[in-house]
């Protein structure tokens, strides 16, 4: 077999595809079944945020006769395969069979688990297409996909034509005959797209970004409601994964959606009906606080290997009791979090919030989205300049922590209204802010982590762990402290850059563009 000719889809309805092919090709070519139809079970895998799809890759687990096989294909047509030995989904890339496929996926998926994106049975039949000498000039593969979800309608039959070497001209003729057949169309979407489409979905649907399209002239209240609804979608999309503890990023995205919601309620309170923001702010604070212990432990555990590698006077293995302690505490905190997310309190909150947002009354004489965005961003920016300017070398840590929160508010406000701004102006402003945020983040995380290490060390001491573990934790704390001090000394120059006339001008352009 040689060059692959165009694919086809057949939507002919009552006439079976094999009959349609015979009708299309007679009398020049005959259609001979080459093998018995075989059924394969196909499971497409990706991370919840579609990292493989975004990288132009498709990962599929194909099971039929013999052991199941993982097939990773790229848009360029290359494939890497691996035999699956009892792997269950979801799984982190570390849990895949070792080899080139795992190597390719490790860096890409990082902390995200691979989980089934779609499932289908695939009935594959092969036909020989012969000329008048009964010589095979092309092979035709017919693939009938049956999506796993019971209510789904089967996607159209998929046909792929492959010319036998030296018979490209005849294969082209066959392709022309097929294309002329009623119900036969050239081209076929990738099988994953076809299966997802039967349920009204598409690959790459989920993103944790606030990707709402606002218009400058729409009422600000409607714009804010659209943002809040989008955040609620993200929040709800991550609940099941957080409860099942599939990977740490479900909780991360859920937590970010909650924080963004709280910021939107705070900065946009005046745009909402009286009393709405004060009613829901405590509810979302409850939700945010609920997620904090597990997330803090995730941060510790995710950075554990890197932190252990930095130890200078202790052996990384000495940290085992500390790691066990964190893991055990995480199990407890995760259970508590899952219970809360299954509670009536939580489900009532999200249901009530959605119905409130979808039924918001229009605001009389309210501002448009562009004016509101400019006002909110401008105010958040000025607040950072004022509070950051008041921080000196002797200012207490709380002042820097407060400034970090204000920076997050500005960052979120920029994200909410991004669709109103010129993209490059938006990116420049975010880049300006990000430098300051990173510095403040390192500083605060360092301080929090040091306090936690000290508190845990006290607990472990009481439970009689070896002294080597405590010494290693001390070593760890000293490295964290070093990073914290570096961030603190870096702050003044970072803030000076953010508050410089050039940087201010970049924000002014942004708020001005909101008016246009």
């Amino acid at each position: 077999m040689s060059a692959c000719s165009p694919n086809f889809t057949y939507t002919g309805g009552e006439r079976p595809v094999s009959v349609a092919v015979r009708d299309a090709l007679a009398p020049q070519f005959s259609v001979v079944p080459a093998t018995r139809a075989r059924t394969l079970r196909r499971t497409w895998l990706d991370t919840f945020d579609w990292r493989l799809h975004r990288a132009g890759l498709t990962l599929e687990c194909v099971a039929g006769h013999g052991p199941a096989k993982l097939v990773l294909s790229g848009t360029a047509g290359g494939q890497i395969t691996a035999t699956v030995n009892g792997t269950r989904w979801p799984v982190l890339a570390e849990g895949l069979p070792r080899g080139p496929l795992q190597d390719r996926l490790k860096g890409l998926t990082s902390v995200r688990a691979l989980l089934p994106a779609a499932k289908a049975a695939s009935t594959v039949s092969e036909f020989r297409l012969c000329n008048t000498d009964d010589k095979t000039v092309a092979w035709l593969t017919v693939d009938l996909l049956h999506p796993a979800q019971p209510s789904a309608v089967d996607p159209p039959a998929r046909l792929s034509l492959t010319a036998v070497r030296g018979y490209q001209a005849q294969a082209d003729r066959i392709a022309q005959c097929l294309a002329a057949q009623p119900g036969m169309f050239r081209g076929a979407p990738p099988p994953l797209d076809a299966v997802l489409a039967t349920a009204g979905h598409a690959p790459g649907e989920y993103t944790n970004k606030v990707d709402v399209e606002l218009s400058a002239t729409m009422p600000a209240r409607a714009a804010l409601a659209a943002v809040l609804l989008r955040l609620l979608d993200t929040l709800e999309a991550n609940v099941a994964g957080t409860i099942r503890d599939i990977d740490t990023e479900f909780l991360h995205d859920l937590r970010v959606a909650v924080r963004r919601t709280r910021t939107a309620l705070k900065l946009g309170a005046a745009l909402l009906p009286d009393g709405l923001a004060p009613e829901y702010q405590p509810e979302f604070k409850w939700l945010g606080d609920l997620t904090t212990p597990t997330r803090d432990l995730d941060v510790h555990l995710l950075g554990f290997a890197a932190a252990a590698a930095e130890l200078t006077s202790a052996d990384p293995a000495d940290l085992a009791p500390f790691h066990d302690y964190l893991t055990q505490r995480r199990i407890t905190e995760q259970r508590r979090l899952a219970r809360a997310l299954r509670s009536a309190h939580f489900t009532t909150l999200t249901a009530a919030w959605r119905s409130t947002l979808t039924a918001l009354p229009p605001q009389r004489r309210g501002p448009d989205a562009a004016h509101a965005a400019a006002r909110i961003i401008g105010r958040a920016h000025r607040r950072i300049l004022a509070r950051g300017g008041a921080i000196g070398p002797d200012s207490p840590p709380e002042q820097l922590h407060d400034l970090r929160k204000r920076c997050k508010e500005l960052r979120y406000a920029l994200e909410f209204f991004a669709s109103l701004h010129d993209l490059s102006a938006h990116r420049r402003a975010v880049r300006e802010l990000k430098g300051l945020q990173d510095c403040l983040g390192t500083y605060q995380d360092g301080e929090v982590q040091q306090q936690e290490i000290r508190a845990i060390a006290a607990d472990l001491l009481a439970s009689g762990v070896p002294a080597t573990a405590l010494l290693a934790m001390g070593d760890l704390a000293s490295h964290v402290g070093q990073r914290e001090r570096e961030a603190r000394s870096e702050f003044s120059s970072r803030f000076a850059a953010f508050a410089s006339p050039e940087a201010r001008a970049r924000f002014e352009v942004l708020t001005a563009s909101a008016h246009s």
Binding site: M1, S2, R128, D133, D134, K135, T136, V164, R165, G166
Partner: protein
């Protein structure tokens, strides 16, 4: 890439049947195989249902104005391709004679295919000619079917002498008894005796069976349409001997 030529000075001894069936078995073994039908009678091309026609004919192929690669056709079997014969191949001697170093020309033409194929079978026409010299120069192994008669044995000696008289590269030789008529005592005696007397004769012998003649009706290797027949078992054993020699 190993090159095996099915060749004998005599005609009608089972060269094409051997080339077709061993090519099929090699491909079934997972090797990437090309069968080049150099015989203008085009029997191998007929058996694989490929029309015996090459654009530009033998002249274009030998002089290199048409890539060998572009003349190759896929057969109905995975891993097995065919360079079809063309009626102009009757003049291959004359065409070769117009090239520089004609005995090396076939080897030169096949060289670019070495990354595409593991084994190339050359199904040759009978006779001793410039083409024969070019084939022997290109081949790693000459597989010579012989009918077990006294005259055929004389031909085998002539072939052995011919190969040993070649300058430079000399291929290995493996003869095998072919078309054995079990009713003839002489056939049986020679077929049994010959492998014990000569190192260059295969242990396997291929009997004359009607199922082998059926290939022309079925237009497929007997090893494909009757894989459990005595003929197929014989070819499988012969392929095992050839494969061992090639490795």
């Amino acid at each position: 890439m190993k090159i095996v030529a099915t060749y004998n000075i005599k005609g009608g001894v089972g060269k094409t049947a051997a080339a077709v069936n061993l090519s099929y078995l090699a491909a079934k073994d997972g090797q990437r195989v090309l069968l080049a039908d150099l015989d203008p009678q085009a029997a191998a091309s007929f058996l694989f249902r490929v029309r015996p026609r090459v654009k530009g004919g033998g002249t274009a192929l030998v002089r290199g104005s048409r890539d060998l690669d572009k003349a190759i056709k896929g057969t109905d079997f995975d891993g097995l391709d065919l360079l079809p014969a063309d009626f102009t191949f009757r003049n291959l001697d004359l065409i070769l004679d117009t090239t520089k170093k004609p005995t090396q020309q076939l080897a030169r033409l096949l060289r670019p295919l070495r990354t595409s194929y593991d084994v190339v079978f050359l199904d040759c026409p009978p006779g001793i000619s410039l083409l024969s010299e070019a084939v022997l120069h290109a081949a790693d192994l000459v597989l010579a079917p012989i009918i077990p008669t006294t005259l055929s044995l004389r031909t085998l000696d002539q072939l052995t002498e011919f190969i040993s008289g070649l300058d430079g590269h000399r291929p290995a030789l493996l003869a095998f008894c072919s078309m054995i008529d079990r009713r003839k005592r002489l056939h049986k005696e020679i077929a049994e005796r010959l492998p014990t007397e000569r190192d260059d004769v295969a242990v396997t012998a291929i009997p004359a069976l009607s199922v082998i003649e059926q290939m022309a009706v079925r237009r497929a290797p007997v090893t494909a349409f009757a894989p459990r027949s005595a003929a197929s078992r014989g070819y499988a054993e012969l392929w095992a001997e050839v494969r061992a020699l090639l490795s």
